[in-house]
C-alpha cells in the first residue's frame, strides 16, 4: 500500500498495518470536523479528506487550520464493500478487509 501527499492541504500522519485478515490505517486528524470527513474508494485509490473546525476568535499565533487530504493506493486484494472507519479523539481508524479468496488458508494434510 502506498500513499501520495498533496500540497494544497495538510497530509496527516498515518500508520499502516497488515494482518492476515485486513489492512489497518491509523491517521491523526486533530480538530477534524466529523461531519466533513469523507473516504472515497475509486479505482483502487482511497481518498481521505476532512476540514478542521474553525477556532473562533482572531488567530494571533499560527494560522487558521485548513484541511486534511491524503490519497492511498490500495492493493487489489481489498474487499471494497467491507471497508469501515471510525473517528475518535481526533484519530481515524480505517479497516480494509482482504477478500476471502486472498486470505491465507491452511490446507489440511491427511496422513495414511
Amino acid at each position: 500500500m502506498s500513499t501520495d501527499k498533496t500540497h494544497s492541504a495538510m497530509a496527516p500522519a498515518v500508520d499502516i498495518y497488515e494482518s492476515e485478515d485486513e489492512y489497518l490505517i491509523l491517521s491523526d486528524l486533530p480538530g477534524a470536523d466529523p461531519a466533513s470527513l469523507s473516504l472515497d474508494l475509486d479505482h483502487g485509490q482511497l481518498t481521505l479528506a476532512a476540514t478542521r473546525l474553525a477556532l473562533g476568535g482572531e488567530v494571533v499565533h499560527g494560522s487558521e487550520p485548513s484541511s486534511f487530504h491524503r490519497v492511498f493506493r490500495l492493493p487489489d486484494s481489498i474487499d471494497a464493500e467491507a471497508v469501515s472507519a471510525r473517528l475518535d479523539k481526533g484519530v481515524l481508524e480505517v479497516h480494509l478487509p482482504k477478500r476471502e479468496a486472498l486470505k491465507p488458508r491452511r490446507i489440511p494434510v491427511h496422513t495414511g
Binding site: 500500500m1 495538510m10 500522519a13 500508520d15 480538530g31 476568535g57 499565533h61 499560527g62
Partner: protein, 144 residues
Amino acid sequence: MLSPWFGASRAFNEMDALRREMDALFRTYDADYGEVGVGPVVRMTEDDEAWTVFMDVPGLTAEDVEVTVQASRLTVQGIRRLAAPEGYQAHRRERREWRLARSFRLPSRVEADAVTAEVKEGVLSVRLPKAPELKPRQISVQSA
C-alpha cells in the same frame, strides 16, 4: 510632552509582551514534536474576553492531559503513547509518541484563577481570560 495616546500605546506594548511569552512557549513546544506533523500544531486566538491556546493532541482525552495553575505559573503536561495493534505487521509508521511538559509564567494580563482547559476531537484548548482592565468597555458619550 506626552502624546495623548501614551496610555494606549503602553497597553499595546503589554499585549506584545504577552505575545512574546506565548511565542516562547510555542517554540519549545514545537521542538518537542521534532519533525513530526505537517503544518502548524499550536495556535493562539484572541477575542474580547480571552486568549486561547490550541495544541494538537490526537488520541488523548482530558484524563491524559494535566493543566495546572499555581502561583501564576501555567503548566501543561501530557504523554502520548502508541501501541502497535496485536497480530499486525507495520508497513508505515509516521505517527509519533511524545511527551509534553511545558511551564510558563502567566502575565498579569491574564486572570490566572479563571484559566480553563478542555480536550475536544484531539485538540487541547487552554483559555486564558483577560484581566478586566483589558476587556473592551463601552464608553457612553453624553451630549452637552
